[in-house]
């Protein structure tokens, strides 16, 4: 399918891709941090993100539901983010404590299968508890004065316009929150005590333990932070696309993982870059090739990157010690 170059469409896809990409970047960070420290693929990460989205929805309905919230929009959104992030973070710690820590010294295949089991368990628990129907954040009318007449709420207000393409408030919120979280994470890893301990643990767990670092606590904190970012991404997804469902974690998890690998797993700027690339690839593939090819394009990119440069764009080649 050949489409004549259309600047408006291009910019629209670019904006969508960057928003989507920042979301994937947040998910990728969780994968990347956990992999960096434990060398473990946390398959359950996507489902933590899904639970985060549901917690955000829960807060929304506790406070009166999307159509008639009891409090004004700004504190509502802040509350949703905070609740989802804390709940997801705690969930991540619980998963680590019960499904991965007993397997710390097991053969490498064991925690992977355990992670698969956790993912499947969470997905179907959500199906059991929340049912299979889609839950809607109704972000289109969220905060609107007349939601029953489908008057658009402030989240869809254009903040600025590039060549007739509106950049909506919600997209700006997503971008700003992502940027803020990523800066905070970078500072945390680079400047704080905990960050130093995390870097040491990921470099050599045994040596770090001998230096007096409580590695179990560092690993738990890593899971907390990674899952917290996933929870934030879950709420963002709900606000952007207005629907959450039990199976949303699987595909998002796969794409977040792709982002982590493309950027170079274990590297924080790599995860952000990878997220942007995957988001843009998906957006452009959906726009120019048709929606059904977008997932296949993302998977294709992953397999190509793995074959050509397994350490990712910004990753360092792992030296295998014998």
């Amino acid at each position: 399918m050949i489409v004549a170059f259309n600047a408006e469409l291009f910019i629209q896809l670019l904006v969508n891709g960057i928003t989507l990409g920042s979301l994937y970047g947040l998910i990728a960070l969780g994968y990347s941090m956990v992999y960096g420290i434990l060398k473990l693929l946390n398959f359950a990460h996507g489902d933590v993100y899904m639970i985060g989205a549901f917690v955000g929805y829960g807060v929304l309905s506790l406070l009166g539901g999307p159509l008639s919230p009891n409090i004004s929009l700004a504190p509502l959104i802040v509350l949703m983010f905070l609740a989802a992030m804390i709940a997801s973070g705690l969930l991540g710690v619980v998963i680590e404590r019960f499904a991965y820590r007993p397997l710390r010294d097991a053969p490498r295949i064991a925690p992977l299968i355990s992670a698969l089991g956790v993912s499947f368990f969470l997905q179907n628990s959500a199906l059991l508890v929340f049912g299979s129907q889609f839950r809607s954040y109704d972000s289109f009318v969220l905060g609107s004065k007349n939601p029953e007449f489908f008057e658009p709420g402030p989240l869809t207000d254009p903040v600025f316009v590039i060549k007739h393409v509106n950049v909506q408030l919600i997209q700006v919120i997503v971008l700003a929150t992502t940027a803020g979280l990523m800066v905070a994470l970078t500072v945390l890893v680079a400047k704080t005590h905990l960050g130093k301990a995390m870097r040491a643990t990921s470099y050599d767990r045994e040596a770090a333990a001998m230096m007096g670092i409580d590695t179990d606590r560092v690993i738990a904190s890593t899971f907390f932070i990674g899952s917290l970012l996933a929870g934030a991404a879950g709420v963002m997804f709900g606000l952007l696309f207005s629907q959450v469902f039990h199976f949303m974690g699987f595909l998002a998890g796969l794409k977040g993982f792709t982002a982590a690998v493309v950027g170079g797993i274990g590297s924080i700027p790599g995860a952000m870059l990878g997220g942007l690339l995957v988001g843009l690839a998906e957006s452009f593939a959906a726009g120019y090739l048709g929606g059904r090819w977008s997932d296949l394009t993302v998977f294709g990119i992953l397999i190509l990157v793995l074959l050509i440069r397994p350490s990712g764009l910004l990753g360092t080649r792992a030296i295998q010690k014998v």
Binding site: L112, S114, G117, R292, L307
Partner: protein, 493 residues
């Protein structure tokens, strides 16, 4: 080597005095006997291995399986017999890749799907091609094996986890391709999109079509027995031993000049070939394939089959497939829930018998649960009759007892969800506490299990079985990673 000599005599504990001293040749040679022999399943597994030689096990299984159609009706034979055999076949293929060679292949189910779709294209109304099974099955098996080989090529470069990801993505890409992409070939969607391909020919034995369930069952049983025998000899062969060495330590295996890459590819191709074979049979028995048959849940089920029985053990795969498929079919939505209920309570009690010691403690716990249940039921009823007014779903003969014992509210929609989440928390807490507190907490937890079963799981058995499988994988990995019959791995210090 002279005993005594340079090694100073160290007095061991009284029970160790007769054993060879650490480090001498006899000690090294007796490593198998020193492996931890725990009570319960582990010892049982070892005994089965020791008492029954492989041919005797095969004979027992073969005779039992062959007589199955004589006393089972058609529907049951399809659900319990044929599906168990297909799971055995799938488990055997995955066992080669994961169990022998230690490669985590998460795209395995896509190879199964490829086999099924390819067979469907070669023998169905879709393109009007009707190849006989004697031609189409070998073609499908060989091409699936080749696809497995291609998929395995990245494994030459990738460490274990990356391989898992590439294969997982391959599996996902397969489902997307079949379902959404559906390219047009010869004026028709190649894979039929979401509708799949229907009207697939049954397998035939050199022109004789196997149309009845009994014929199909015996045909598949024959295939399974042949594959079992072949794999037994393969696992005892030079290649089988090399695979196990690769699984235990790829670096050491390479240092011993084993062709690691070739061995990996061989394992991939073998596993894929068996998956393709299973795909042919599956497509022919179901007479239709859709992409939903080859998605993540089936992958989890096959993994559960292999891991439950014990990674790397053929007997384990057979037992795992029987256990998993029977519980799977009991929890099928169309099955009367009465059976599933009996199975569920039986499994809970069996686990208690295995886990709670000494024996009188078991009596205390079970009695406690019964008393606790009636007390909780009475209190709930006293607070508000609506708490116990709910109806038991398909109670059968047990309905009366259950509705007097378990709190099943009418209305109160949130109750089931709260009970479910509380149960998860309680079970997690149980793993962290010990001694008397654990026994005390066990009683309400068991009662809660009954509540969750009666209020949530019975209503959605299809979801419940996936939840239970997911929990099974995690529990098995943390408690007994080698499965019921597998041998524990050598600890490398």
């Amino acid at each position: 080597m002279q005993t005594g000599g340079d090694i100073p005599e160290v007095p061991g504990r009284p029970d160790e005095r007769d054993r060879p001293r650490v480090g001498v040749d006899e000690w090294v040679a007796s490593v198998e006997g020193r492996r931890e022999d725990r009570v319960g399943f582990a010892r049982l597994g070892r005994r089965i291995d020791a008492l029954l030689p492989p041919w005797a096990r095969l004979l027992i299984f073969g005779v039992f399986a062959a007589t199955l159609p004589l006393w089972m009706d058609r529907g049951d034979l399809f659900a319990y017999g044929i599906f168990t055999l297909i799971y055995i076949l799938l488990g055997l293929g995955l066992n080669v890749v994961v169990g022998y060679a230690g490669l985590l292949d998460l795209g395995y189910v896509a190879l199964f799907g490829f086999g099924a779709y390819f067979y469907a294209l070669l023998s169905s109304e879709h393109y009007g091609i009707h190849w006989p099974s004697a031609v189409s099955i070998p073609v499908v098996v060989v091409s699936t094996a080749l696809l497995g080989l291609v998929l395995g090529i990245p494994s030459r470069r990738l460490l274990g986890d990356y391989l898992a990801i590439v294969t997982l993505f391959f599996g996902q890409a397969f489902v997307v391709f079949v379902n959404a992409a559906n390219p047009t070939v010869r004026g028709k969607g190649l894979t039929g999109g979401p509708n799949g391909i229907a009207d697939i020919d049954p397998n035939d034995l050199f022109g004789y079509e196997l149309t009845t369930r009994r014929q199909q069952y015996w045909f598949i049983l024959g295939v399974v027995l042949l594959v079992l025998i072949g794999l037994h000899f393969l696992s005892e062969s030079r290649t089988g031993r090399a695979w196990r060495a690769l699984r235990e330590d790829p670096l050491a295996a390479e240092a011993m000049s084993m062709p690691v890459n070739r061995l990996k590819l061989k394992a991939f191709a073998f596993g894929a070939g068996i998956a393709g074979l299973a795909g042919c049979i599956f497509a022919a028995v179901l007479t239709a394939v859709t992409s939903g048959n080859f998605a993540l849940p089936i992958l989890i089920t096959i993994y559960a089959v292999v891991i439950l029985g014990g990674i790397g053990s053929l007997t384990g795969v057979v037992i795992g497939a029987i256990v998993i498929n029977v519980s799977f079919q009991f929890l099928a939505p169309e099955n009367p829930q009465d059976n599933a209920r009996i199975l569920f309570y039986a499994v809970v009690i069996l686990l208690l018998v295995l886990a709670v010691r000494p024996w009188w403690m078991l009596g205390v716990v079970l009695g406690g649960v019964v008393v606790f249940g009636f007390a909780a039921h009475a209190i709930a009823e006293a607070i508000d009759p609506s708490w116990t007014a709910g109806a038991v779903v398909e109670g059968g003969r047990l309905a009366g007892v259950i509705s007097d014992w378990v709190i099943i509210p009418a209305g109160h929609e949130r109750f089931a969800n709260v009970a479910y989440i509380t149960l998860i928390v309680a079970v997690l807490a149980l793993t962290r506490i010990h001694g008397w507190w654990r026994t005390i907490l066990l009683v309400p937890t068991l009662y809660l299990t009954a509540i969750v079963w009666e209020t949530s799981f019975v209503e959605q058995p299809a979801v419940a079985r996936w939840i239970l499988f997911g929990a099974l994988l995690v529990t098995l990995m943390t408690v007994r990673p080698q499965g019921l019959l597998g041998t524990p791995r050598v600890e490398i210090v």
